[in-house]
């Protein structure tokens, strides 16, 4: 699992021109990596989601919104996207929205999660 951000972890990211619209930013971040999780470092359900993917051998890209200076806007955008009162955790696979924890688990149980991960190149074998 690796953490990404504009200003953190000594990782230089080129300045973006589409910084203004949070929803656009969500979509852009979601499409950049195979598995993207929006999370809050204090949220225990987010921890559960991260553990699920790590347990499957997947290396998700995690964005901790409480450590992002524009995190609040992203949270609001995610809430609107899901129609939910909980902004996190939200999972994107191959740029496609999977949803919150309940949808992730449902898709794992009904067997659709693993093919999606393989398709996105996050899982081999």
């Amino acid at each position: 699992m690796h953490y990404q951000g504009d200003y953190y972890w000594g990782y230089y990211m080129p300045t973006r021109s589409i910084g203004s619209d949070p929803m656009e930013r969500v979509v852009k971040l979601a499409s950049e990596k195979a598995v993207v999780i929006f999370s809050l470092s204090s949220c225990c359900m987010c921890h559960a989601v991260k553990r699920l993917f790590c347990g499957m051998g997947v290396n998700p890209t995690v964005y901790e919104l409480d450590q992002d200076p524009r995190g609040k806007d992203l949270e609001t955008a995610l809430m609107r996207l899901l129609g939910n009162s909980q902004p996190v955790p939200v999972v994107f696979i191959g740029g496609k929205l999977i949803g919150a924890m309940d949808r992730v688990m449902a898709s794992h149980i009904n067997g659709t999660l693993v093919p999606l991960l393989k398709e996105a190149g996050a899982l081999w074998l």
């Binding site: 309940d102 449902a106 067997g111 999660l113």
Partner: protein
């Protein structure tokens, strides 16, 4: 102004007294002065008493000091500070207010100590104010909590006024248990229908209808648990809604899906290769999901422990408020666990034939029926010589009842 009194007094004993007299009154003054230094409010009764005793001591000394001032002036062995101190102390009591404000007549040390005293007193006053404010806000929070409790109690019509009489069971828990008992009765009905359906070789379409009805029956219990989680999550998490034997194997407020699938695999032969793979992969996915949820819950527990353990610097009411907000996350975990259970049950008819799915549900129902029966048997088992002679026979007959047919268990 008041704190400055002890300062002047402390200097007096050393400067003006002679012989034993000085030590006696000196020590008395010192104790009084140290007492008054701890007063926050100049107008408190204790400080008033002290100030009156100050007044007395002051008057007594005034005359003596006036006499001794000439002595001091001629005696170079006395400390320089005492010479300086005697001048303001000579002033009469009524002029003390004017005396304390003429600070240029006091030296640097005294000035510093006066300032420190004022600071200390000010800080004490501020601390007290902050404490009182905290108490006020806590009181408001408490009344709010009490109101919520009242509202919740009023919703539980069954309990009435005897909230404590039923052993501290919340109204939400009572309703949950009632609804669950009703669900168990429905479950028995559905199961006997399934049994007759299987034995009478119904068509697959009819059997599928029954299976779907049974699935909706399970959806119902998850819906009920979802509502119960809002009212009393602890009732679900501690398994108080189920029988003791079921509670023993509890995972996050209910059954562990992977365990259930293990049971089914052993009961479901013959299975085709594809079906076996499907079931095993279901078990595997369920295990991974359970593990993830367990780890998430563990992190929540650790975070709660850290909050409740707290530290000496943490304010009690705030600590409780933080702990309360963390507890609210428990509901989310119970819901996700129930979601997992529901999804697993729904997946079964997708990987199995209709007959196999019907058999699955029967196996599940009977298994939990037996666990409930086990709980009752265990509760009524003979415990040594305390029981009368009839008891052992009773258990034996119970056990004999147990053997003949499996369907007996459903009626326990």
């Amino acid at each position: 102004m008041f704190p400055s009194w002890p300062m002047r007094y402390r200097q007096t004993p050393g400067s003006s007294k002679s012989g034993g007299e000085s030590t006696d009154s000196g020590s008395a003054l010192n104790t009084i002065s140290s007492k008054t230094e701890n007063q926050f409010e100049p107008d408190s009764p204790i400080s008033k008493k002290a100030s009156s005793s100050y007044h007395q001591a002051f008057d007594q000394q005034n005359l003596q000091q006036q006499q001794q001032q000439q002595e001091m002036a001629s005696d170079p062995s006395r400390t320089g500070t005492s010479l300086n101190q005697s001048a303001p102390i000579v002033k009469p009591l009524q002029e003390k207010k004017r005396a304390s404000t003429s600070e240029k007549q006091l030296d640097a040390k005294t000035l510093r100590r006066l300032a420190q005293n004022r600071e200390a007193a000010k800080k004490s006053r501020l601390r007290k104010k902050a404490y009182v404010q905290q108490l006020e806000s806590s009181r408001i929070k408490l009344t709010q909590l009490e109101q919520e409790l009242q509202r919740a109690r009023s919703q539980g019509l069954l309990l009435g006024s005897s909230g404590g009489g039923v052993g501290n069971i919340s109204s939400g828990a009572v309703i949950c248990d009632m609804e669950y008992a009703r669900w168990l009765e429905d479950d028995e009905r559905h199961m006997s229908e399934l049994r007759t359906g299987l034995h009478s070789n119904l068509s697959d379409t009819d059997l599928r209808l029954m299976v779907n009805t049974y699935l909706s029956h399970y959806d119902e219990i998850f819906r009920l648990k979802g509502m119960a989680a809002k009212f009393d999550v602890f009732h679900l998490l501690t398994g108080m809604w189920t029988s003791p034997a079921e509670r023993c194997f509890l995972w996050m407020g209910g059954f562990r899906p992977s365990e259930l699938i293990k049971i089914l695999i052993s009961q479901l032969d013959p299975l085709t290769e594809q079906q076996l793979m499907g079931i095993c992969s279901l078990q595997h996915s369920s295990q991974q999901a359970e593990e993830a949820l367990s780890q998430g819950l563990e992190q929540l527990q650790q975070s709660l422990i850290d909050t409740v353990a707290g530290g000496p610097a943490i304010d009690g009411m705030q600590q409780m408020a933080i702990a309360l907000s963390k507890l609210a996350n428990l509901e989310g975990f119970v819901r996700q666990a129930d979601n997992l259970r529901q999804q697993t049950l729904h997946q079964l008819p997708r990987i199995l034939t209709v007959r196999q799915a019907a058999r699955c549900f029967l196996v599940i129902g009977e298994y939990y029926g037996r666990l409930r029966a086990l709980s009752s048997l265990w509760a009524s088992r003979p415990r040594g010589r305390l029981m009368s002679d009839e008891q052992p026979c009773q258990t034996t007959t119970e056990l004999q009842m147990v053997q003949p047919s499996q369907s007996h268990f459903a009626h326990f």
